[in-house]
Symmetry: C2
Subunit: 404 residues, 2 copies
């Protein structure tokens, strides 16, 4: 008899967004006249930029003619896109990334899950707490995280690095030595970030202890402060210890369009083996490229028009973030994030649990957010609001919260 | 120090298409005046059907307006597409597949590689020989195949099922008991297939020995004969032992557009655990859906216009297949395939090796095909030609071969 991967059975239910959905549905059924405003899930709402739309129409037309039709894409992705990335995301920051160090994918979620394939099961991971659940869940699926301890909300073989008000929402170097360190800055869910000197400490630490950093920079386009690094490769030595994940989801509204990329410098070696060669092998064997139409759309993000238009979108969301942050602060809440990220992280008032505050906000303000405890035990007592709603809804939601 | 997945280092180089490319480039450099005709790689050449193009333009426009913009897709894929699949691919064949048994993906290559994630490492796989390399390579990457034995061109812990003229290019039930059986009909690379009674024997066998069948039906649209099953679920009991993989790459020319799906019936259980629930968990955790635009394009394939147009494309390719098959037969070659599949499998003349025949065809007819030995040891002495070229090139290639 065949055997299943028993690690899947250890996973706790992914209750967060389904529980939120259930609670909202129940409330709506009981209160059909109330207008709910959702500032919970991190999904964009603005339509794709005109430059992207134009390029996609052209690409669709190319697929309609035998002369310009595109079959299988090159393994690493189209060179026109990798070239635009190398120039705009790295060269402009003083970082040289070669075209064969860039791997185009269907998004950072796939990449952050799949990257584990190239590592041995016997590696100890370190994650921030709270954290984007995919890092931990995908490692759990491959058997790297030990046993789940429900009473703690933690896995037995994972190093958790608390990120709370006490740590200024940044992780501290762990006492126990990790093999693989997941970092995400600007951070989901806290919206916090760290400056270049602080990130350099992580690079130095990884080089010292022989760890690899998986650096998720999906929100780099939201950085507004000068000394916050846009790529980990701004730090000295990072090419020898870090993989960077990037996404078009939040910088260009591609959550439903699907495009991302992973950077693996050839300097990154385990003994004689470059991780670049391992990922190239995985990419070529288990993936067949992002659609040509979508890769063309991605390249349009880097045109002058595309940059201008997507920056306007980001400015729109960041204005929402300011509305939320300032509004909550003036109402007496303790807030962080929202300056270099589209997420605002607030401390629940009067020591309410995250879920109690969720219920309170839903019942009394008809506003939906995300309980911080859903992202990890150190998220307890915190709450996430996102800046991805419309300006009008965002203003109204904050007015309602202020009136409570 | 972190550790890499050492299984990757066991993989032999993927020399097949790179060696072909190198040989063709060398020939072209030495003979710039010669016109090469490529009937090697299984990539389509006809542009997307007008109904698909129209729907994609509409979907692009939907992404340009806040009212119709689409963010993250539903985990399993859009219901409009799963509904079209359930009705057209299964209901019409007398098979009931529920919408939550269909998982939309970015293609059958990803699915056939990723499906291994839900199974324990300690499962023994059985594959046809010759075979689509992704099945074996992805199992090797996860450590399921033992050691590679270069002198045999085989892995130590894989059951190989020879498919040669002696077996009528169909596998025989293996003597050793497998846990996971990969079947692909119509077959890549041989172009052969089996009838419903023969496939029923595999289903009965899997149920008897407690194996699961991964059934790759990527080429089902090319079936022309009556008694050849279009889905494994036409066989009694298959829902309790088989996962089916489907692709839009060859039936609608989506090789560069990327869309596929996996069917996992809820009857398929290992003890109390449905494989459907495991795949749902993987799909939701390590994947974020195919792009809305592409899912909309996929649904257009199932409209009346879309069906008519894609059937015309398939007829075009199958006419090429007939040209190749009949032409080679009349020239004295022993050929198979090409009746229910876009691949023609020929026996090399005079006991030439597959690579010797490759060189001979390249040098003397300037035609590029694929050496059968590249798909496995039992492919030695065979050669694959594909029907995906233009009609004109196909006719000319066969004329050249006939003149040899």
């Amino acid at each position: 008899m065949y055997k299943i991967n028993e690690n899947y059975l250890k996973l706790p239910g992914s209750y967060l967004f389904s529980t939120i959905g259930k609670k909202v549905n129940e409330f709506t059924a009981a209160n059909p006249e109330k207008k709910i405003i959702r500032l919970g899930i991190g999904d964009v709402t603005l339509p794709l930029a005109p430059a992207v739309i134009d390029r996609m129409h052209k690409a669709v037309d190319e697929m309609s003619s035998p002369e310009t039709f595109k079959g299988y894409a090159p393994d690493l992705g189209y060179e026109f896109l990798r070239e635009a990335i190398a120039v705009n995301d790295f060269k402009t920051r003083g970082v040289d990334i070669a075209l064969d160090e860039i791997f185009i994918s269907d998004g950072a979620k796939s990449d952050s899950g799949n990257i584990g394939d190239i590592f041995d099961i016997d590696n100890k991971i370190a994650v921030c707490d709270p954290v984007y659940p995919v890092y931990v869940d995908t490692n759990a699926m491959s058997g790297r995280t030990g046993e789940y301890l429900p009473e703690l909300g933690k896995w037995s073989n994972v190093i958790y690095m608390p990120c709370t008000a006490e740590t200024n929402f940044a992780p501290e170097l762990p006492k126990e030595r990790p093999d693989i360190i997941y970092l995400c800055f600007p951070n989901n869910p806290t919206g916090s970030t760290i400056n270049k000197d602080e990130l350099q400490k992580w690079v130095d630490y990884a080089l010292k202890v022989g760890a690899v950093i998986i650096y998720d920079a999906a929100y780099e386009a939201y950085i507004s402060e000068e000394d916050v690094p846009h790529t980990i490769y701004e730090c000295e030595g990072a090419k020898a210890c870090a993989i960077e994940l990037r996404s078009f989801s939040k910088n260009a509204g591609f959550t439903g369009t699907r495009l991302g990329f992973t950077v693996i410098p050839k300097e990154l070696k385990c003994g004689d083996v470059t991780l670049n060669s391992l990922w190239a092998r995985r990419h070529g064997t288990k993936f067949n490229g992002a659609p040509y139409i979508i890769q063309a759309a991605g390249a349009a993000v880097y045109t002058e028009e595309g940059k201008k238009q997507t920056q306007e979108q980001i400015a729109y969301y960041m204005n929402n973030a300011k509305v939320i942050r300032d509004g909550l602060a003036s109402a007496g809440y303790t807030v962080s994030g929202g300056v270099n990220a589209p997420y605002i992280w607030l401390k629940t008032p009067e020591k309410m649990t995250s879920w109690d505050f969720f219920d309170y906000l839903l019942q009394d303000a008809n506003v939906v957010g995300t309980p911080g405890s859903g992202f990890g035990p150190s998220g307890e007592g915190y709450f996430r609001l996102t800046a991805f709603g419309s300006y009008e809804n965002t203003v109204e939601a904050i007015e309602r919260i202020k009136k409570l």
